[in-house]
Amino acid sequence: MKVIRSLAVLGLLVAPGGSAKGQSFGPILVNGAGATFPYPIYSKWFDEYHKLHPNIQINYQSVGSGAGIRQLLSGTVDFGASDGPMSDEQLAQAKVKVLHFPTVLGADVPTYNIPGVAQELKFTPEALAGIFLGTITKWNDPAIAGANPGVTLPAKDIVVVHRSDGSGTTYIWTDYLSKVSEGWKKKVGKGTSVNWPVGLGGKGNEGVAGLVKQTPNSLGYVELIYAIQNNLPYGRVRNSAGAFVKADLAGVSAAAAGAAKSMPDDFRVSITNPPGNSVYPIASFTWLLVPASIQDGNKKAVLKEFLRWMLTEGQKYAEPLACARLPREVVEKELKAIAQIH
C-alpha cells in the first residue's frame, strides 16, 4: 500500500518536471545547509514532509548562514538557508540565479538585569542605539529615564552584552540599529558579526542570557523565541508609529504584513522598523535559497512541491515552535514566485 502510494506521489511530483522519464523510483535525497536560527522549524518541516512523502528525504545541516551560502554557491547542496539576504556581490558570484524564499519570521528583544528595578522597561530607538554605541553609559541617562516615568533607574554603568558568534540574531539587531541611527550605520553597520563599540560577548542566546542574568546592570539582546521559552524579562521597544510594543508573534507577523506592500520581487528585504501601529520593529525574515534552474528533474519537483507545502500547510507548525508565521500577502507572492524555478 505504502509503496504504491509513494510511487503515485512520486509520479505526481515528477510529472510537471517533464524530464523525469526513465528515472529510477528510488528514494529522492535533497540536501540543504545553512542558518541555525530556524533549525527547529526546518527540521520539523522536513520531518513532517517525509511522513507525507516517505520516499523523499530532505537533509538539512544547520551549519550557519555563511556556510550555507558558500555550500550553495559551490554546488555541494541543493538549497541553502540564510538569516540575512545574499548581497548583490554574492549573487553575482553565483553560477546560477539564486531565489530567496522567506519561510518564517524571527525577532530580537532587549533583555536586562537591573537590581531593584522590577518594572518592564521601555526603550526608544535612540536609547538602544546610544547604549550600543557607548554614548549612553548610565541607566539613569535621560534618554532611558525619559521613556520610563515612575521607574527609579540607578546611576550605574550599563554593561552591554552582545553575541560573540556570528548569527542571524545579530544581523536583525544591527539591521535595526542601522535604520534608526545614522551614527550606528556609519560607524558599525549591519552584519552577522560586527565591530562592537562596547560590551561583552556571549556565545549563543544562552551565552548572552547567562551573562545578562549574572551581571548586574546589564543589557543584551536575544531572540524572541529564546526569551519566551526561558521566561526572560524583556523590554518594550518604540516603533515608528510612536507606540511602545512588547514583542509577540502577532506583532512580528504584523511587521511583515506592513512590509509586504513594498516587498521587492526577489524578497530580499529588511523589515526592521516598518510602518504600522501595532508592529514590533526588530524583526526579520529568514530565507531559503533555491537555485532558479535545477538540472535534476526529481529534485526540482521535490523542492517546488515542498516550497508550496511549506508556505501553506507547513506554516501551522511555526507558532508552536515560537516562530512567527508569514502574513498572507507574502505567502501569495511567494507561491507565484515558485514558478520561477525551472
Binding site: G64, Q90, D165, G166, T192, N195, G201
Partner: protein, 327 residues
Amino acid sequence: MATAPIAVRHGHPSRGPRALLQRLRSGDEAAHLITALFAGSVILITSLLVYELWANSVLSRHRFGWSFLFSRVWDPVFEQFGALPFIYGTLVTSAVALLIAVPVGLGAAIFLAELAPPRLSDGLAFVIDLLAAVPSVIYGLMAIFTLVPLLRERVEPGLGALFGFLPLFQGPAYGVGFLAGGLVLAVMVLPFIISVSREMLLAVPGDQREAALALGATRWEATWKVAVPFARAGILGSIFLALARALGETMAVTMVIGNNPQISASLFAPGYSIAAVIANEFSEATGDLYLHALIELGLVLFFLTFILNGLARLLILLTTQRGTAHE
C-alpha cells in the same frame, strides 16, 4: 630510567631500543617501511595543514600584508581585519595560566613524587589523569557558574582595592575577561604539568638522591637541588605541553573571556583569543575576504605555536647541555 628526559627531547630512546630498531631493519624491512610511513604521515599532515591555511588565506594576506599582525581593528562589516587584539588575548591568557599553573603544578608534582606515601601518590595521580580528560566545555560551564561570579563579586574588587595602583588591576569588575580566561586555562593545564612532572621526578635514579643525602643534604635540599634539576628537561617539556594546550584552547576560553577584541592593560577587561574568534565567527562568515582573514588567524596561531615550541626546544637544549646530571 635515566634516559627518560632524553626521551622527551628526541622522541626515541637511546642505545637499547636503537639496537632493536637495527635488528628490525635487517630482519624485517616491511616493518621498517610501514612504521616509517606512519611517522612520515605526521610531516605530511603538518605540511598539508600549513599549505591549506596558506592557500585559503591568500585574499587576506594580499590585502593586509604584514599590517594584519599589527592592526587593532576587526570589522567584518567594513572588511578591515587585524589580528593584534587576538594575538594579545591569546598570549595574555596563556601567560596568566602558566604563571599560576607552573608553581602549583610543580609543587604538587614534587609532593607526589618525593614526599607523599606511594599509595597516596598513585591514587592522586589517577585523579589528576581524570582531570586531564574532562572536556573543556565542562570547565567553561563551571567557570561561568562559579568562577565568574566569584571574580566579579569578591576577587576583582578585592584585587582592585589592594593593588588598584597597578594598571593590571584597574577598571570595572565584569567577572569575564583576561583574568577569568587565564584562570580557567590554569586549571585546565594543571593536570598536564603535575602528571608529566611527577613521572619525570619519579624517573630520577634513587642513587642521585642518596648521594645528596650522604653529603649531608636535607630531604628538601636533595629534592630541590638534585632531583628537580635532574628532571628539569622533562619538567620544562610538561610546561610547554601545557602552553601548547593553553594557546589552542577554544571553548572554555570563549565562554569566559568576554569576547571583545580590545587590548587593555587590565586583567579585568574583556578580551578575545585567536581560537575563540575563529570558532565564533567561522560558520557565519559570508564574505570571501572575511573568511580568508579568519583562516589567516589560524595561520597566525599555527606560527605562534610553532615559534613558542621552537623556543621551548631551544631552552630545553640549552639547559640540558649545561646540566651535568645526564649521561
